[in-house]
Amino acid sequence: MIRIDNLVKSFGAKRAVDGVSFTVERGEVVGFLGPNGSGKSTTMRMVTGFYPPTSGRITVGGHDVAEAPLQAKRLIGYLPESAAAYPDMTVEGFLRFAAQMRGLEGDAQKKAIARVVELCFLDSVLHQTIDTLSKGYRHRTCLAQALIHDPQVLVLDEPTDGLDPNQKHEVRNLIRELGRSKAVIFSTHILEEVDAACTRAIIIDRGRIVAQGTPQELRALSALAGAVTLRAEGATEQALASLGRVERVGGAWRVFPPAGAAAPLVPAVLELAARSGWRIEALRTEEGQLDEVFRRITLPDTVKK
């Protein structure tokens, strides 16, 4: 649904987005990760037609965003980063405006408004003006606006920003649910959201894609991935060192597989334990941590700046 080819956006001498290419198909939820100022929002603004790209091509549902902006925009629901909404309008008035702009009238308009009000839990604030709303409600009002025409493509810039933990949870579930039938791309810098909602994640740093894959694939990039954490009576560092690098973690030992090792480490640890007569209290294979991967990939650049 979304196809991006070699997208570049410069602001003066600064390249905010520098040769980004990816696609998002229907049924996918793509998480867009990156440190602040890495080009996430700029990319999204180009996808939605707000910024014209310096070079490169974006098509949404087969429509070129630069050449047929109206057709492309009709397919997209967009939640901007600021979750901006007209402060002097009521929630209902604002949603009606959004519905009208999407060509919804009469019964279809009423149904669409009722649907998003329910989805985003806006019932209690329907007649309040937007400037009297708390941040969470304002955010959800803007999200409701993005969903009003049941778009095929959803572009959400930090959809959980400013929400409380319960609301975050609801929005993540909503995104996952919507992702079954739509192409969804959302940006975040909260890594747990990648696990909670994404089918695929793209890590972007300084305008370039530095890693992408399913959450599992990304975690496998972690130095921790494949390590075995063991707590056992009688275990010694010397014995474990024969399997790989050993580290003391709290009351347990953590063994890292040697670089390039293909076989899982657990059977070897178990065999060693049996041979040495250790009594195992806990044993776990580490999956790797996304935040560690994220830091390792993006930190050198941040420090350089």
Binding site: K9, S10, F11, G12, A16, R45, T48, G49, F50, Y51, P52, T54, P69, L70, K73, R74, I76, Y78, P80, E81, S82, A84, A85, Y86, P87, D88, M89, G93, F97, A98, Q100, M101, R102, G103, T129, C142, Q145
Partner: protein, 244 residues
């Protein structure tokens, strides 16, 4: 086309959901009345015309029209709603025209509410109502020209105050270029042809005809082109912000 009216409707209702509209209408009518009857010496003139009323409009609008238009784009940019608006399925021109027309209609309403002055002059004498109608039409165009200029300055900045001041300065130039004290001063050291050229840029010069009941195509064209130019520039400025 439909999107344009939806935007205009939203903008117009925005005036009335806040106190802006009511404050503006009251102030506008008070000042218009004061200028006409006190400063303009409406009764002392002893003639059945609205010259005392229309003559002040370039000055009256100088402050009040930028006050109406200053938030048009600067507020959208400051609040970030411009991102929302321009990613809806509309062209930038529909958005620019929609917002402009809404404010222009609001100014038309303010102007229409001055109708008691027409009743007064009809009660006291037998004025040329055709000339009065032409005067109203000219005044409406004058307000549109100022408003388009304000649209343009409003697109330049996120700050409403800056937009207001810039608009007042540009509109002041549009008045002074043809204001008699200024042209008299210019004549001393510039050729009459040059003075005429400068004066041709003035709204005062082009508004005069309307007040006398003459609708000249050249005057009409002047106001329409000021609006066209300013709104086109608004589009260029808005695109410039996004192009980076």
């Amino acid at each position: 086309m439909k999107a344009l009216w939806i935007i205009a409707k939203r903008e117009l209702s925005g005036f009335f959901t806040s106190p802006v509209a009511y404050v503006f209408l009251v102030i506008f009518l008070l000042i218009a009345g004061f200028l006409t009857f006190t400063a303009g010496a409406f009764f002392e003139r002893g003639e059945a015309s609205l010259a005392a009323f229309f003559g002040w409009h370039p000055w009256l609008y100088l402050v009040l029209v930028p006050a109406v238009g200053m938030r048009l784009w600067s507020e959208e940019r400051r609040a970030g709603t411009i991102e929302l608006l321009l990613t809806l399925p509309v062209t930038p021109w529909q958005a620019i025209l929609g917002k402009f027309l809404a404010s222009w209609l609001f100014l038309a309403l303010a102007l229409a509410l001055t109708f008691p002055v027409v009743l007064t002059v009809n009660l006291l004498g037998e004025p040329d109502n055709g000339a009065i109608l032409a005067g109203y039409f000219g005044s409406f165009l004058l307000a549109g020209a100022y408003l388009a200029v304000t649209c343009m300055t409003s697109a330049m900045t996120r700050n409403q105050v800056v937009a207001f001041i810039l608009a007042v300065v540009v509109c002041l130039f549009l008045i002074l270029a043809g204001f008699n004290p200024v042209t008299d001063l210019l004549v001393r050291w510039a050729s009459p042809a040059a003075v005429d050229t400068i004066a041709a840029f003035s709204v005062v010069t082009h508004f005069d005809g309307f007040q006398r009941g003459v609708i000249d195509t050249r005057d009409l064209l002047f106001f329409v082109s000021v609006m066209g130019f300013a709104l086109f520039t608004t589009g260029v400025i808005l695109r410039g912000h996004r192009a980076g």
